[in-house]
Symmetry: C2
Subunit: 341 residues, 2 copies
């Protein structure tokens, strides 16, 4: 079994460059979404612990079974840990043999940036000039870096935590990207062409209101993914021209689209798999277009598939003999026996 | 994160001896079952692939989260793999941090033997002389070895596959245990004091019939754990004095007790947690007593808890830095940046 730790993964991404890795991951994701019907998907399996949430995200097709373990422990910063930590298991579905364990703390942030980038490439109008990032946590850098290729000349950010905002601005300055801090969500999003939301949406500060938005804005709503939480004013959701989601069964439970389920008005909601087959032109969008991303197991499958492939090509990671050797019969006890050959 | 591969695990068990490891595991299991109310349990999450079954078995309490991945791919022998292969993930529930990945191909067979032994110690009549093993697959050696301490002077076995039967007999002969091969299930079980069933119960050969059984027999029904499959004649199940199960919600789906659900006659079915608190005397049992084991996540929790403890005590396994180091802020992107410190 191949082990890919955080050092291996960051080494791989640095070696081929973050941009190239993302582009390859977008290609993998598009392929996997185009073949979504060949996958067995289910909503994540979620467990509530008093100190956090522990989740399993399994998915498989004919060839591979992927399962991500991921936690979200909001007070982890006080315990010297990241809030979100993940780890992936990659299995040969034909035999059930575990093939790889990979770190997914960093990889989860990368795959979330990749799906966001994929949807931006499909849904952003031509000639977008301005972008706003709402929520400057661990994922925000990845989103800004992923969207660098669009050449926005006005990038703004907002977070209730000024320290987080400054951290993002400083890190991005090192990458040659200039971001303007804002005093409020309103200041950040007013009249921008493109918004990425990345918050916990605990509703202690204003959500994004419809009246602040430019007509035709595109929003990648990446945060607030939990039952009962959302980042967008319900009128934005209702009046949007189109809402693209990853996997409706899970989005209904966690995404912005939760708000629509009660009303039953889901006519403008479409899954990525279907959306990819349509010929979508973003330019006539008059109110808004939304990608309501909650993060699904299929994204992790694509990410593990790519890591599995690239780590072999670049000889990254270390092999461990996890399984007892198979010697042609059912004798498993021999490995414990003091009297075996 | 600690990695325990097959070589580490078998080294640990050999070091402290299989018998001592089992005894410690029985103690752990008893403790965990006595505290079952403190665990969040759910039936296993099961996925059907054309070539096998892929399963996740999560469980947690205040302190630890355990998840076993396990496959059952019946044709794996033709692909040079074991039919059942497993791997465990052990997590600090307070932070969500993965602490250990352990092999569970061997460990699953050990924990199944341990729960079987635990129930035999509680449910076998005094002065049992004879035991029958039905099904001589990979788990059978572990069950025989676990029950060595009872000093049976008549041990019989049966399997439709003579090669498997001979393999078990030869391996046990090396351990100084004599087992008599039988020509039929009937020959093996007729008038014995104790039966362990370990088959796939695909019903191509006769199940155990009530008329073959000695009055007062005890049965550990460890095999046949899948919806629709069972090893015992329904009259045995119905007429049994007592049936102990691990976790009714899962047993109802997979165990022998499936047969009782429709009839609604579950009065003699009791979960281990409750059974442990009762003062059970096996000697007055007149028809039969049954432990209907299907294998639940709590058993894997106990096994991982013990392995975690013993591997620290005996300095076994190797550490891997799976997570990116936490440096006091939300900066996760720094590990991919060519421009960070």
């Amino acid at each position: 079994m191949l082990i890919i730790d955080a050092h291996d993964l960051s080494g791989l991404v640095k070696k081929i460059s973050f941009g190239a890795f993302l582009d390859q991951l977008v290609t993998c994701m598009k392929h996997d979404f185009m073949h979504a019907h060949e996958f067995h998907q289910c909503p994540r399996v979620s467990f509530k612990h008093p100190e956090g949430i522990l989740e399993l995200m399994p998915v498989f097709n004919q060839d591979f079974f992927a399962n991500k373990y991921v936690c979200t422990h909001k007070d982890n910063h006080h315990k010297n840990h990241y809030v979100v930590m993940g780890q992936g298991l990659w299995v040969d579905a034909h035999t059930g043999q575990p093939l790889m364990i990979t770190e997914m703390t960093i990889l989860t942030a990368i795959r979330t940036a990749a799906v966001s980038l994929m949807m931006s490439e499909l849904m952003l109008k031509t000639n977008c000039q301005s972008m706003a990032i709402i929520g400057c946590g661990a994922q925000s850098d990845f989103q800004v870096m992923a969207h660098q290729k669009f050449g926005f000349n006005d990038i703004r950010c907002f977070d209730i935590d000024k320290h987080s905002m400054n951290r993002l601005i400083n890190q991005m300055a090192k990458e040659g990207i200039s971001i303007r801090p804002c005093e409020s969500v309103e200041e950040a999003v007013r009249d921008v062409d493109f918004i990425i939301t990345l918050t916990n949406a605990n509703r202690t500060y204003p959500l994004i209101r419809e009246e602040w938005l430019k007509n035709g804005v595109h929003i990648n709503a990446m945060g607030g993914d939990a039952p009962g939480s959302s980042e967008l004013d319900s009128s934005i959701i209702k009046n949007s021209d189109i809402i693209v989601v990853e996997y409706l069964e899970q989005t209904k439970l966690e995404g912005e689209t939760q708000q629509l389920v009660e009303s039953g008005n889901m006519g403008h909601v479409v899954e990525i798999a279907e959306f990819l087959k349509s010929k979508f032109d973003p330019n006539p969008i008059c109110h808004s277009s939304i990608f309501d991303g909650v993060g699904i197991a299929l994204l992790d499958y694509s990410a593990m598939r790519l890591v599995w492939k690239l780590c072999h090509e670049h000889h990254i990671g270390h092999q461990i003999k996890m399984l007892p050797p198979y010697r042609g019969d059912k004798n498993l006890y021999q490995f414990l026996s003091l009297n075996s050959d």
